[in-house]
């Protein structure tokens, strides 16, 4: 039972991390949402039958090897069933299921992508002001035929690493470190690649004391005028300002099953529904999936994930990522510096212009509405009563 798990972890950890853990599960909001029932769990309910099939295939394969008997026909049948089930499940993910997939414990993390697609990674530490925030990874790399400055949030895989990288929640030092490396890249005309994967910037006393708001604001401004191509991809969680602080780019993509949101569904539910129980409704209402964001013209591209999402095939996901980055950087490098910066400014200046003048429609953009999604009952979260 996932809740049991969480509570054990909470008890086992030292006091400062105890609260942090709640932050991770409950994300950015608040006392009223401190009900674990509303949290979007790590065990994906809709994946349980799929996992059963995968186990069965494995069991039969082992049996076949040990006994010498031929089970290949059965295995093939189950495999086909599995493929169909995967196709069906992943073609119709609800918003809250997408969030759960994006937070999947086996989903590739930024350091996995570095290992899989970056050659000769030369890590560069420190913000040269205060410290070295491990939640943000920076370094030179060769990627898809380009020399780049690779920057990303690292969420951590094992418990020890999670603590070391603060669950991917950066302090001001992380954003200043990233900007320091971006400026280095710009000086030598090296393009910047940002991989976003964070529940949000760290909400703590020290983060406030060291000016987290200012650090993010400065990144937004400086990235909007950084004199080198910048691309950003949300690879897992795109958590609010902490994500945007590394995502002001010429081109922004989101992996197919990643999400990008102004607030965590749990936090939003806690504020607007007064209970974290409504996380599934909030996730739906926030339009946080890649498909919704593309429809709203807030992102430029959706990078496909293999059947059954990135955690089933990290290599293929990484290749898709590399392909998009390679192609996008090639296009951006053709632009003259002035036109690169002019286009970037225009991209952000026009973004999300969903307003009307005294009841009249603005020409062009205001008609873009997210299509009504087919709503099927949510399996990943507890069933909620109607509001």
């Amino acid at each position: 039972m996932p809740h049991q798990h969480r509570q054990n972890w909470v008890r086992a950890s030292s006091p400062p991390w105890r609260g942090l853990f709640w932050y991770i599960t409950m994300s950015t909001q608040p006392a009223t949402a401190a009900n674990p029932a509303g949290a979007i769990g790590h065990v994906l309910e809709f994946e349980k039958p799929l996992a059963k099939m995968e186990q069965e295939i494995q069991r039969l394969e082992t049996l076949q090897a040990e006994s010498g008997r031929d089970y290949s026909e059965v295995i093939t049948t189950i495999r086909e069933q599995l493929q169909n089930a995967l196709r069906q499940s992943y073609a119709n993910l609800t918003a809250v299921e997408t969030v759960a997939v994006a937070r999947h414990p086996r989903r590739p993390l930024v350091r996995d992508y570095i290992r899989l697609i970056a050659e000769d990674f030369c890590e560069l530490h420190g913000d040269k002001l205060y410290g070295d925030d491990h939640a943000v990874v920076c370094g030179f790399a060769r990627l898809a035929g380009h020399r780049v400055m690779l920057i990303g949030h690292q969420k951590g895989r094992e418990w020890r690493e999670k603590i070391e990288v603060n669950f991917g929640c950066a302090h001001p030092d992380g954003y200043r470190k990233a900007l320091e490396k971006m400026k280095l890249a710009a000086k030598f005309n090296v393009p910047v690649v940002c991989l976003v994967d964070t529940p949000g910037a760290y909400p703590g006393v020290e983060a406030e004391e060291r000016g987290i708001a200012r650090a993010i604001a400065i990144n937004l401004m400086e990235m909007s005028r950084l004199a080198t191509p910048v691309v950003a991809v949300v690879v897992g969680e795109g958590g609010s300002g902490g994500a945007l602080g590394l995502a002001v780019a010429d081109q922004v993509a989101v992996l197919e099953h990643a999400y990008y949101s102004v607030i965590s569904p749990e936090g939003c539910a806690g504020i607007l529904w007064k209970s974290g129980e409504y996380a599934a409704q909030a996730a739906e209402a926030l339009r946080l999936t890649a498909a919704d964001l593309k429809r709203l013209d807030l992102i430029d591209a959706i990078i496909p994930e293999p059947l059954g999402a990135a955690h089933r095939n990290p290599e293929e996901t990484a290749q898709n990522l590399a392909t998009w980055i390679g192609k996008t950087l090639r296009d951006l490098r053709r632009l003259k510096p002035e036109s690169l910066l002019r286009r970037r400014y225009d991209r952000w200046r026009k973004i999300g212009s969903f307003f009307v003048e005294g009841g009249k429609s603005e020409p062009g953009r205001t008609d873009t509405k997210p299509a009504k999604r087919a709503r099927r009952p949510t399996k990943a979260a507890a069933v909620q009563p109607e509001a």
Binding site: P15, G19, L20, W22, Y23, M26, Q29, P30, T32, A201, P203, G204, V205, E208, G211, I212, A213, R214, I216, A217, L220, M221, S224, R225, S240, G241, L244, G245, A247, V248, Y260, S261, V262, C268, G270, I271, L272, W273, Y278, A285, L286, R287, L293, L296, L298, Y345, W348, R349, I351, G352, S353, F354, F355, V356, E357, G359, T368, K369, P370, A387
Partner: protein, 274 residues
């Protein structure tokens, strides 16, 4: 939007009636005196939140303010609905405040000095930033650049407006880019942070001022205090995230009493030769 900050119905955040009890020091204040004191308690100095029109009148030379983009309204791009629809929420708050959005921008004069200014309204969905606020801030920065005038932002906001989802988050980048371009053009950008200036507004155009002033006691920060208390599971230090705390930690240039704002802004404009 921090939940801890409630949304008063009236346009000035003090109780109604001829006499008013200060919510901070409990002193009884005659309403007319409070207005003369610019809605600052004469006994304890508590700076009350004021609505956008009151603030504009307090700051500008009488009759000089000219609003632009007055009629922009959200087109509800997400067709958002929680317990009520966003459209209903907007209609309700419009009726309550008589405003169409959480920010007013325009050209004004402070002690004879022309400038472009934006003022946020704490009583319009917590002064939260959606597409309209983002557009107004950006347009104001561009206007200030084209007219070579200083830009003033009086901030007061709970952050990004979650009913506009990612549309509101992207406004952080949009406004920061616009302010960045104004900065490159050599413009002077003054920010006055008032209670509260938090989250997505703090982490974008508010903290990008060349000079950052703050009213005494204003809540200034990124994460809401309750979120942080919930995260670290201990009580927060005294005065945490107040203007004085931000001054102490080096993120605010000056704390200015409301009655001195006009002269302080004029002084900075003069020093910067703008």
């Amino acid at each position: 939007m921090p939940e801890s900050i409630s949304q008063p119905r009236r346009n000035v955040d003090v109780p109604e009636g001829l006499w008013i009890r200060c919510t901070q020091c409990s002193a009884m204040i005659y309403r007319r005196i409070l207005e003369e004191e610019l809605h600052v308690c004469p006994e304890c100095g508590c700076h009350y939140r004021v609505d956008v029109r009151t603030r504009i009148n307090q700051l500008n030379d009488p009759g000089t303010f000219e609003e632009f983009l007055p009629n922009l309204e959200s087109s509800d791009p997400l067709e958002f609905s929680d317990r009520i629809t966003y459209r209903e929420r907007l209609a309700k708050v419009k009726a309550e405040t008589g405003e169409t959005e959480a920010m007013v921008v325009g050209k004004g004069f402070i002690k004879g000095r022309p400038l472009i200014m934006g003022v946020m309204n704490p009583f319009f969905i917590m002064g939260s930033m959606g597409a309209v606020v983002g557009e107004k801030v950006s347009a104001a920065a561009e206007r200030a650049a084209s007219e070579s005038l200083p830009l003033l932002m009086v901030t007061c906001s709970g952050g990004a407006r979650m009913m506009e989802g990612m549309v509101s988050l992207t406004q952080m980048a949009k406004t920061s880019a616009a302010v960045g371009r104004f900065d490159q053009a050599g413009g002077l950008y003054i920010v006055v942070m008032t209670d509260p200036t938090t989250a997505g507004v703090a982490a974008s155009f508010a903290f990008l001022g060349d000079v950052i002033l703050a009213e005494p006691g204003a809540l200034i920060g990124f994460a809401g205090p309750r979120v942080i208390a919930n995260t670290i599971k201990t009580t927060l230090p005294e005065g945490f995230q107040k203007a004085e705390f931000m001054l102490e930690h080096g993120f605010v240039d000056r704390i200015v009493h409301r009655r001195d704002l006009r002269s302080e802004i004029a002084r900075i404009i003069d020093y910067c030769n703008k």
